[in-house]
Amino acid sequence: MKLPDKREMKPLGISFLVLFLLAVIGTIFTSTSFIGMLSLSFAVFFYFLMPGYFAMLNFDFDALERIILGMAASSAIIPVFLYAINIIGFKITTTMIISSILLFISLSVLIREK
């Protein structure tokens, strides 16, 4: 196990700020509420960005590669995992989705080489 260091967390922080900024801009230029835009930005960050980014920390990629390839990886892994637990018999609730993402992030950190 190896926890991400400050340098590795920086792209996540920047991405979060960019998404927040997009939510603000989206609110200004459309009639959508700030809460709606913010929730969309949060979901992109939490669902697409975080799981894949942490998984990509296992590779010697640069920050942009980790973010972009990580997002694509998240979009495959999270739904497959949810489908698997749904087949077993669990419902796809918000709690289950958040737990699955956190579990996947933890797993990605756990298997990381020191």
Binding site: I35, S39, L64, A76, P79, I92, E113
Partner: protein, 582 residues
């Protein structure tokens, strides 16, 4: 100008691409993604995707068909490629906005992500300049950007997203860029990507499997069957096979009922070119990009002659050629409906050719060392030209797609009323129908009185009504199907290949009322709970007025109307109840 500034520039370009989509005129929700209504109404696939995703979102279960899409049958196992719907539904659970909005959002998002994925791969394998130019071309084709949004087929776009990823991981594994631990993680990921394709749109899985198999076989011999070869095969299959074995028997009941070999045979009709479907835009570059592509081929030939390609670059170029070969294989008779889509999906790969053409011009101009310092300005200029040349046309195309919506607010209100004010098992008759089965958003089992392009039911209904004859029975097509075999659905799984089945309208009241027919059924009006009609704005206004008056005379009740649409609750007290319904 340093490279990081170029990266900043591409970030600005991407920002415009995304913001352009946000501010464009969505005819339905007016750009307000809080609204509980679809933002764009153009394609059946978007309806289908949205309605499945909404059912999963509401029921929190991805295993079953929405009853309203299978004629009221409850809890039938879905044989649909459920993965794309599940992605949308689970993503939406983390937001405060409706599934109606997240479906096109995810479509946009995946299309941008696909271009960006190819961008980072080209940047790593070739150089930043080529990556910047090719991704700018791919992000802003002159027209019909987001083919999927216009025509549908979001499934294949999603499925295609994993082609560059699988390729990237495979070549890194076999070129020994990864440690053993990284090879194992990558192999597990490749398994997940394969499953995602298998559970979304498996055509891409089968189209690109031969290419990836060739890569694996090539490296197996090149690396003398080193341990990576076994690790990849073992771990990828370890993830892939359980899901494959779970879903294959189900899809064999429907989409693959004829078996793999028969389905593959159906793709090929060698001898004459297979035409594009009439409603498709032509998958072609414009003349400027064609000229640049020719220059790109010169650049390719020049570099090839000098043997300047690394093995990774060669394989990437081979993948680009492979996509092109598949995309144009309709000219040798392969079903255009399947293969030509790859030209849209693979645009970010194909954009490499005109981008190479631009690089050829670049290398000629900047062979002079004196002006070398202006080279970055040239790239920025090219990106700016691509943006200002293409973006307005792209946005204009999107606006054109938007105004081609075939339903309006008044029709949506009637659908919404049905959705929000009727019992879950109510059955609805849409006398005028909705082109492309918009009615599925009502979330009730339904029959449509007009279904294009088959005119029989419309002829029957309106010949009667327009000649002032109120027939006891009405003709129509029952909404959707999604059958698993002949007019049946999967009810329970009793073994890997063993299912029990359930049939629609297999209960006393329905059997007594009508003979269900996949093409056209004649159903008594009293069988329905509600009838929805468009009484203004169609060529049948007088006929519908007659229908409404006669219905009210017969004791049915007008429960809702607006300036265009009306909903009648069928009075069943004099005609018997609907006991025994599934």
């Amino acid at each position: 100008m340093s490279i990081s500034k170029e990266s900043f520039f591409i970030a600005i370009v991407i920002f415009f691409a995304v913001s352009g989509l946000v501010v464009r005129n969505f005819p339905f929700n007016q750009g307000n993604i809080d609204k509980d209504m679809p933002p764009i109404i153009t394609s059946f696939d978007l309806f289908a995707g949205t309605s499945y995703a909404k059912y999963i979102y509401d029921s929190e279960d991805a295993r079953y068909n929405p009853p309203y899409r299978v004629m009221g049958v409850e809890k039938s196992l879905t044989i649909q490629p459920v993965f794309y719907f599940l992605l949308i539904a689970s993503f939406t659970k983390l937001t405060s906005i409706p599934v109606y909005q997240t479906t096109p959002f995810i479509t946009h998002f995946i299309s941008v992500l696909l271009v960006m994925s190819v961008f980072v791969i080209v940047r790593r394998l070739f150089n930043l300049k080529l990556a910047l130019v090719s991704s700018a071309i791919a992000l802003f084709p002159e027209s019909k950007w987001l083919f999927q949004l216009f025509i549908g087929f979001q499934y294949d776009q999603y499925s295609f997203l994993f082609v560059p990823l699988i390729f990237f991981l495979l070549i890194n594994i076999f070129c020994k860029e990864f440690t053993t631990r990284q090879v194992i993680i990558s192999s597990v990921m490749i398994g997940f990507f394969g499953i995602s394709q298998w559970l979304s749109h498996f055509v891409e899985l089968f189209l690109y499997l031969p290419f990836f198999a060739l890569i694996i076989i090539y490296f197996a011999f090149r690396n003398k069957f080193s341990k990576e070869y076994f690790i990849v095969c073992f771990f990828a299959l370890l993830v892939f096979l359980p899901f494959f074995l779970y879903f294959y028997p189900m899809t064999k009941e429907g989409h693959l009922s004829a078996g793999f070999s028969e389905n593959i045979k159906e793709l090929f009709h060698f001898g004459k070119p297979s035409p594009y479907p009439s409603y498709w835009p032509e998958p072609r570059f414009n003349s400027i990009l064609n000229i640049l592509s020719v220059l790109g081929i010169v650049y390719l030939a020049f570099k090839t002659a000098k043997s300047e390609w690394s093995i990774k670059q060669k394989l990437f170029l081979l993948l680009m050629i492979y996509i092109m070969m598949i995309g144009f294989s309709n000219y040798i008779g392969v079903d255009a409906n399947r293969v030509s889509r790859q030209l849209f999906n693979g645009l970010s790969f194909l954009a490499l050719l005109p981008a190479m053409g631009i690089l050829l011009v670049y290398s000629v101009i900047f062979s002079n060392q004196k002006i070398k310092k202006f080279s970055s300005i040239f790239i920025i200029l090219v990106l700016t030209v691509i943006f200002f040349y293409s973006a307005p046309k792209t946005y204009a195309s999107l606006a054109n797609i938007d105004i081609n919506s075939f339903v309006d607010d008044a029709k949506w209100e009637s659908i919404k009323w049905i959705r929000d004010n009727t019992a879950q098992n109510s059955t609805v008759f849409y006398l005028n129908g909705f082109f492309h089965e918009f009615s599925m958003f009502g979330e009730r089992p339904f029959m449509e009185g007009i279904v294009l392009p088959t005119p029989e039911s419309a002829q029957y209904n309106f010949q009667n009504l327009c000649s002032k004859k109120f027939s006891e029975k009405f003709a129509g097509h029952w909404g959707n199907g999604e059958f698993a075999g002949k007019r049946r659905y999967l009810k329970n799984r009793n073994g890997i290949f063993n299912f029990s089945y359930i049939y629609p309208f297999d209960y006393a009241e329905a059997k007594k009322s009508f003979d269900y027919n996949e093409t056209m059924s004649l159903v008594p009006l009293r069988f329905f709970d509600y009838a929805v009609v468009q009484y203004k704005g169609s060529q049948f206004d007088n006929c519908i007025a007659f229908f409404l008056n006669e219905s009210l005379n017969l004791g049915h009740v007008l429960v809702w109307n607006n300036q265009e649409m009306a909903i009648i609750k069928i009075n069943k007290s004099s005609t018997g109840s609907k006991e025994g319904k599934q």
